[in-house]
């Protein structure tokens, strides 16, 4: 059983409301019984609820890194407030009387054990991964549909360009929105999102003049996507045996959701990775119609900056766990990497944690780019690819942070190279406003996590700091 602290319990909660409600149950003394087993592996109890009978809830630490929450309440939130409340009661030091493991939990444990055994057995036999059968005719049908969808999209895009963006009115936008819906029938969810993003740029209440540049960029993006997608799909329709493209992001653009097993199959994994979160923020992606929890992580040995993305669709947002800032080092036994550019998306299934040590911070500094010129070159190389991630993030070492008479913030590298720091439109939150409030230790010989965005109108490559790693630790600016 891990050491229980209230911040640990907080981190288990799916959202802040659950924390409050869980603590509320303890304060209201809703727990009728509180028990623990002799070895402390299992906490269980009864909690009065709105139903006639009290709920039976338990937290099982038989596998300490992966506690199992069980509760008889009908809540779809997981873990529910009762299980959290049980843990808060324990943290608060309420008395848990020792008791034997209840029968139903013993039975459930046995079942879980068997499942685990079966898995191990299957793995040992070496024949678990049955080659997935591809239904060729279905695949062919899907590809044909996708190609048709691309034609439809192209027709729409071209007609919009011929007519001009200025002539787009509410009626045209309605047609665009209808197309967004239709693209769903053609298995083109990626295109759906980008077309909706285009519609949002010119939608109601948006500043048109400001939106035009982005709208143009969105149109060329769709153009590049149609071209590339068409040639890729044509190639696949001719050879259905052809595997997914695991090097470029085209499959994702077409709406493919990579499964972990697929990533493993293509060898896109790393073993025993250590990750340190450098930045985290959540935003509302209206084009995706999802809330996105986005984190940037440093792979401590490889030095790459990965990102994690957790999508919470509007409709299910209440039931899904909100991710949060992570202040420890995550030790990941098996890390899955998505195809991508400089900051590929990663995922993992299980992990353990350890505290951050000064040696870890040294690693961060060691992995930072020492030369601004080289880093900028790398960024530009990625940006020029039409379907690339347009907001690359990397670590930059700075000798100093300074301010010009015009109020611009600058970082300077060892060779005297300079980079202007400013807020980029891609992020809804500014960070440069915080720079004057930083303590002196942040401002010299430090490493910055920086996100880039090219500003077409001004012809500038803008860089926004997301965090600063300095001698005493890490300061987050988002």
């Amino acid at each position: 059983m891990p050491e229980l602290t209230s911040s640990y319990v907080d981190s288990l909660a799916p959202n802040t409301a659950a924390i409050k409600n869980g603590q509320g149950l303890v304060r209201k003394k809703s727990f009728i019984q509180l028990h623990r087993t002799e070895n402390g592996e299992l906490l269980f109890g009864q909690c009065a609820g709105s139903g006639k009978t009290p709920y039976e809830c338990s937290v099982d630490f038989i596998a300490p890194e992966n506690p199992v929450f069980r509760c008889s309440c009908p809540s779809r939130q997981f873990p529910c407030k009762h299980a959290l409340g049980l843990l808060y009661a324990y943290v608060e030091g309420q008395t848990f009387t020792p008791a034997p493991v209840p029968e139903d939990i013993a039975a459930k444990r046995e079942k879980a054990e068997k499942r685990e055994e079966n898995k191990v057995k299957q793995a040992a036999e070496g024949s678990p991964a049955k080659p997935k059968k591809v239904n060729k005719s279905a695949l062919k049908k899907k590809i044909t549909a996708q190609l048709e969808g691309l034609d439809l999209l192209e027709k729409l895009v071209l007609s919009l360009i011929r007519g001009g963006l200025s002539s787009i009115d509410a009626k045209t936008l309605k047609t665009v929105q209808e197309h967004v819906k239709q693209l769903g029938n053609y298995y083109l969810s990626g295109a759906q999102i980008e077309l909706r993003r285009f519609a949002l740029l010119l939608g109601k209440g948006e500043d048109r003049e400001h939106g035009y540049t982005y709208a143009v960029r969105q149109l060329t993006l769709l153009h590049a996507f149609i071209k590339k997608g068409r040639s890729y799909l044509t190639a696949r329709s001719e050879d259905p045996e052809l595997a997914l493209d695991h090097e470029s992001t085209i499959d994702e653009w077409l709406g493919h959701a990579w499964q972990l097993s697929e990533l493993k199959e293509y060898g896109l994994t790393a073993e025993n990775a250590e990750l340190l979160q450098l930045a985290f923020y959540s935003y509302d992606d209206k084009a995706r119609q999802e809330f996105v929890d986005q984190g940037y992580w440093l792979d401590m040995s490889a030095g790459a900056v990965y990102k994690t993305l957790h999508y919470r669709p509007y409709k299910a947002a209440k039931l899904l766990r909100e991710e949060d800032s992570f202040y420890e080092v995550a030790e990941v036994p098996l890390l899955y990497k998505y195809p991508g550019d400089m900051n590929p998306r990663v995922r993992y299934e299980g992990m353990t944690t350890r505290p951050v040590t000064p040696a870890d911070l040294d690693q961060v500094h060691a992995h930072a780019h020492r030369s601004i010129a080289e880093a900028v070159k790398k960024v530009k190389n990625q940006l020029k690819n039409p379907l690339s991630d347009k907001e690359p993030v990397l670590l930059l070492h700075a000798v100093s942070i300074s301010q010009t008479a015009q109020g611009e913030y600058l970082i300077t590298d060892e060779a005297g190279g300079q980079l202007v720091l400013e807020d980029i439109p891609a992020l809804s939150q500014g960070a440069t406003v915080l720079l004057p409030f930083l303590p002196p230790v942040c401002l010299e010989h430090c490493t910055l996590l920086v996100m880039f965005e090219h500003d077409m109108d001004r012809g500038r490559l803008a860089a926004q700091p997301l965090g600063i790693i300095h001698a005493e630790g890490m300061t987050r600016l988002l």
Binding site: N15, G49, S50, S167, L383, P386, Q406, M456, G459, R460
Partner: protein, 616 residues
């Protein structure tokens, strides 16, 4: 590479996207750019390709099979790719100064979820924002660097309570660094939020910043000037300026200057305040300033003047109502300025006022008489009590003053005798008096005021699953204090006067009659009573009277069953607490009546049922 040329081309294609690509054929502005691209194309392949793209776009459509839109897309895609490699990152200014760092010393260890909640509260509008911010401040979330700009921004929040909270609590918690920062980002011409900044600066206390504030006091907007002047109270070097501002044309400025002088308490300042009483114009302003910052020496001087003017006023002609009012306006500022002052001269004045009750009452200056009564009530002197008795004899209005003063000077027994005791004859006389009914009512009100709503108690709304809410209610005086401070005979008095709630509060075990009286009240009275606490007070009384719990429970459930509550929405917290102590066997009875209840009371009963069931 000629970035400017590329940028120009981008502007042109952007224009075509907006206008429509059908207009691209023979576009003269693109045509004008073409030669330059062709020229550069001889050296760099990418310009050649761009040049080809332009010429394909401007030549008439019939030539190529592709529509203009595709050509425009192709050209722009290529152009964008090139532009992406040309983004400039160099600063526009040249001389850069190393950032020095600030003294805030804030960290960024608060988790994103917590920050996001506060960020949302301070950047959007809607309900519940204030609570979120309050809670976050309590949890120390505002000590995170990332919330600092939002905290400063909150000073201008449209919800004034929130802005005031930021001013009074959040920003001062950052210490002197906050004052420095606010002073740097201060706009003297601004409005409310700038005024709040000044208040923060004053609260944090940074004498170094006074010079800046002085400038704002001289030249800012009116609101800012007034607030800045208030900040200048105290130091010697600004007294002269404050004295000058008391002669300003604008009233808010004069008001602020008087207040600052009163707060500073300097000899010159007090002299000016005294002078203000000479005229009519600023008398009231000076009075309010002194009410906030009373000064004993000035109080003495003003008291003398007060006496003189009072005598003068009394001697003047009062037939004209307008003149009467003008006289009152001369006198009333003294009451404001001397509100917290007590000195022999004032003792004299207020005695004088009470002794001339009839004349002042005739003038309708009741406020003056009330103040005199209040002064004597708090004087704690035999003399004052005597004066109040005199006043009470003249008007029942002063009964409560007299009662409260007597309460402080007499023993509990003496008090009872004075107000409710006496021989049978006295009682008969009292009952026959003209104002007997009024006297009784005033006396009862005075008692209830002190006994019924004596202390604030917090209840947890345990039945509310939406969240753990709390609510305050006023409770009656505890039985211990009643036993110590009130004569036991008051209970009989209350029953005799038929004041059930008072009787409930005063009830004690072993008293003959109180149980029967309260039970009878419970059975008889019901929906007619307006007061929501009535039934719960009766039950509290029965508990105080020592009625065994089992009997009270039976009584309570019968009341629940007969639905004899005047408030159909919710049971009083006390009653619910008693119900939670019901024997588990009552659960069927509760369930049987449950359908009759609605709203909050239904939820409460459901909670009760589940509670009783879990005990079974």
């Amino acid at each position: 590479m000629s970035t400017a040329l590329l940028q120009e081309l981008h502007q042109e294609v952007r224009r075509l996207y907006i206008a429509g690509s059908d207009l691209a054929a023979d576009d003269f502005r693109l045509k004008r750019l073409l030669p330059q691209f062709e020229q550069l194309g001889e050296r760099a392949a990418v310009f050649k390709r761009l040049g080809e793209g332009i010429s394909a776009l401007v030549t008439s459509e019939a030539a190529a099979g592709q529509s203009s839109a595709v050509k425009l897309q192709d050209l722009t895609l290529l152009l964008e790719s090139v532009l992406y490699t040309q983004g400039s990152t160099s600063p526009s200014g040249s001389e850069a100064v190393q950032l020095q760092g600030s003294a805030f010393g804030l960290e960024t260890g608060v988790s994103s979820r917590k920050i996001a909640a506060v960020r949302q509260a301070l950047t959007t509008t809607g309900s519940g924002r204030y609570e979120t911010v309050l809670e976050a401040f309590k949890d120390g979330v505002f000590q995170d660097l990332r919330l600092l700009p939002l905290a400063v921004g909150a000073l201008g929040d449209p919800y004034a309570e929130l802005a005031d909270f930021a001013m009074n609590k959040i920003l001062p918690s950052y210490g002197p660094a906050a004052a420095d920062y606010l002073a740097q980002h201060f706009n003297p011409a601004g409005g409310k939020s700038e005024v709040r900044k000044l208040h923060v600066i004053k609260a944090v206390g940074r004498p170094e910043l006074l010079e800046e504030i002085y400038k704002a006091a001289c030249s800012g907007s009116d609101d800012v000037r007034a607030a800045a002047i208030l900040c200048l109270a105290g130091p010697q070097e600004y007294i002269q300026a404050l004295l000058e501002w008391t002669a300003d044309k604008k009233k808010p400025i004069r008001e602020a200057a008087y207040t600052a002088l009163a707060e500073g308490g300097s000899a010159e300042g007090l002299e000016r305040l005294f002078e203000a009483f000479a005229g009519k114009k600023d008398r009231e302003l000076a009075a309010y300033a002194l009410a906030n910052y009373p000064s004993a020496p000035l109080g003495e001087r003003l008291s003398v003047k007060f006496m003189d003017e009072l005598r003068e006023a009394l001697a003047a002609d009062h037939k004209d109502s307008k003149k009467n009012e003008a006289l009152w306006n001369v006198i009333s500022p003294y009451l404001i300025a001397l509100a917290d002052i007590r000195n022999p001269q004032l003792d004299e004045i207020y005695r004088f006022i009470i002794e001339h009750y009839d004349r002042f009452a005739a003038l309708g200056w009741l406020h003056l008489l009330d103040r005199a009564a209040r002064y004597q009530e708090t004087a704690l002197s035999e003399q004052g009590l005597e004066l109040l008795r005199e006043l009470d004899n003249k008007s029942v209005r002063y009964l409560s003053y007299y009662f409260r003063a007597a309460q402080q000077l007499l023993t509990a027994k003496e008090l009872y005798n004075e107000f409710a005791g006496g021989s049978l004859l006295d009682k008969m006389k009292a009952r026959l008096a003209k104002d007997a009914a009024t006297r009784n009512r005033v006396l009862q009100d005075t008692l209830e005021e002190q006994i019924l709503n004596a202390e604030r108690v917090t209840y947890q709304l345990a039945w509310d699953y939406a969240g753990s809410r709390q609510q305050y209610v006023w409770e009656m005086l505890s039985p211990e204090r009643i036993a110590a401070e009130w004569n036991p005979r008051w209970l009989d008095w209350a029953i005799e006067r038929d004041a059930p709630e008072l009787a409930a509060a005063l009830a004690r075990p072993g008293h003959s009659g109180v149980r029967e009286y309260l039970t009878a009240k419970l059975n008889r009275e019901g929906k007619h009573r307006k007061d929501v606490d009535f039934v719960s007070n009766l039950f509290k009384g029965l508990e105080r009277a020592g009625l065994p719990e089992a009997e009270r429970q039976e009584l309570l459930i019968s009341v629940v069953e007969q639905q004899r509550f005047q408030n159909p929405y919710m049971f009083h917290f006390y009653l619910l607490e008693r119900m939670l102590a019901f024997p588990a066997s009552y659960v069927e009875r509760i369930e049987a009546v449950l359908p009759k209840y609605r709203y909050e009371s239904k939820t409460q009963l459901e909670y009760l049922v589940s509670h009783l069931r879990s005990r079974q």
